[in-house]
Point group: C2
Amino acid sequence: MLEITLVGTGGTFPLPNRWLTSLVIRYNGRMILIDCGEGTQLAVRKCGYSLNPIDIICITHFHADHIAGLVGLFLTMGNMGRTKPVKIIGGRNVENIVKSLCVIAPELPFQLEFLEIQDDFLEMPFGDMIIKAFAVEHSTKCYGYSFRLKRKGKFLPDKAKELGIPIKYWKNLQKGESVVIDEKIFTPDMVMGSERKGLSLTYCTDTRPTQSIIDNAKDNDILICEGMYDTPDKLQKAIEKKHMLYSEAANIAKTANVKELWLTHYSPCIENPNENIYTATDIFENTKAGYDGINKILMFGE
Amino acid sequence: MLEITLVGTGGTFPLPNRWLTSLVIRYNGRMILIDCGEGTQLAVRKCGYSLNPIDIICITHFHADHIAGLVGLFLTMGNMGRTKPVKIIGGRNVENIVKSLCVIAPELPFQLEFLEIQDDFLEMPFGDMIIKAFAVEHSTKCYGYSFRLKRKGKFLPDKAKELGIPIKYWKNLQKGESVVIDEKIFTPDMVMGSERKGLSLTYCTDTRPTQSIIDNAKDNDILICEGMYDTPDKLQKAIEKKHMLYSEAANIAKTANVKELWLTHYSPCIENPNENIYTATDIFENTKAGYDGINKILMFGE
């Protein structure tokens, strides 16, 4: 299972009742944070999560509303006893930029490891998960992220019986280990069905609609997508500022055939993100206007 | 008059119910901000103030809990239409450090002007106010700030009559302008009494008790002083970390003969800053455990 929580949903600057957009993914006792604007450490804690399990931070781009909270987060993690390295994924120059911000935090008790996205694409494993970064289209270089938790095939007891594998070895094979019985090697693929549909989600803010979002979000369980502006009269502004309308996000969700869409990264001018949600739901019914703390546990299907 | 608001009272890192320590001074439609940790822009807005009138930002030192919110503040001020320069006062290298933080805000629509404290001391006028910075004693170079609003002497109508100055010129002299009547020059000092006691306050956090605080706070209307730790059993920790106990702040207030003391910059371990306030009030009765939003208007006496 994966637990996802949109700890903030604001764009541009934080509001007294809306933190900046940031997503927490909890998986197997570990945490991934996507973006960290000013106040994100508080937003995470307000959702009831400790900061300590954050192992990976994915940065979409280097505008302050997505990164200015990083130093405060690091210091608080240090204060709370973090000593394990933290991995930061981001675009070109991520290491220099984060180090520049860290001028006021020269002595962190843990290492920062940097992974720079090369040639606009990155794919890395994280346990049974695959993290991908892909380019989107903003006023500055910006990346979306997708996360896929793989799911093994079903164990096939009939096959195991047919091969004469004693029951005591089945667990090893289910765990992906090979076993040797009477000098004969049995590998997991001999008794496991083909890989089943896992869990998947895609996250993108600060972008115009792009084919890359559709491709990455294809058949996902959830798409978390910016909806900086609500009504169609803001289209020109959205084009100029390289953001999206609710309806554009909904069109992506529909084309990509996702199960659910959460909108986020609202303009500070939007007081009630739900007010014009119909502009999205008319296109893609299962749209939710994300709010600070919206949470979902994604479970493997049957 | 001066209006002072302690917009946050936390030390080290922000808590969900306590912003980082920062003071707003409002004077004559303008604002001075002292320190700007992560979230201070929100703390100021939660107090109901616009960010736009902030003309001067005084930085005590470069630990993140006192400066990490600067970039976010600048960007929001820019978003809100600020075009007038903002002056930043701080210790050695203030310009380089702030510019390093601004790597994620390369295009602010207003200028930053830097005033570096030289030889551990600074004194500058700001309207009828004098702003002073003085060195305190922390684990890194750190400064306290004091603010004094001057008050002119009383206008002496008997003297004006004696000198034969027509009433229609009295206002000019009261405003500090000289007037020429029948080719004779009359200067304000001829009709004004000597300067009266103005308003004064001193602010210091992140320091052990020092003589410099006592000297600057002497007879002040208010001293805003750190009280990182409450009870006497934390003395050793206070000495090691270069902070103060409530009682040490109270002793300064007593020795300096201030009218009122506000404690601030509490350790995140202090859940209720009022709980052990007696450790200060036993020494200096008019002590308040500062809280986010505590506010006072200082008025000239009669």
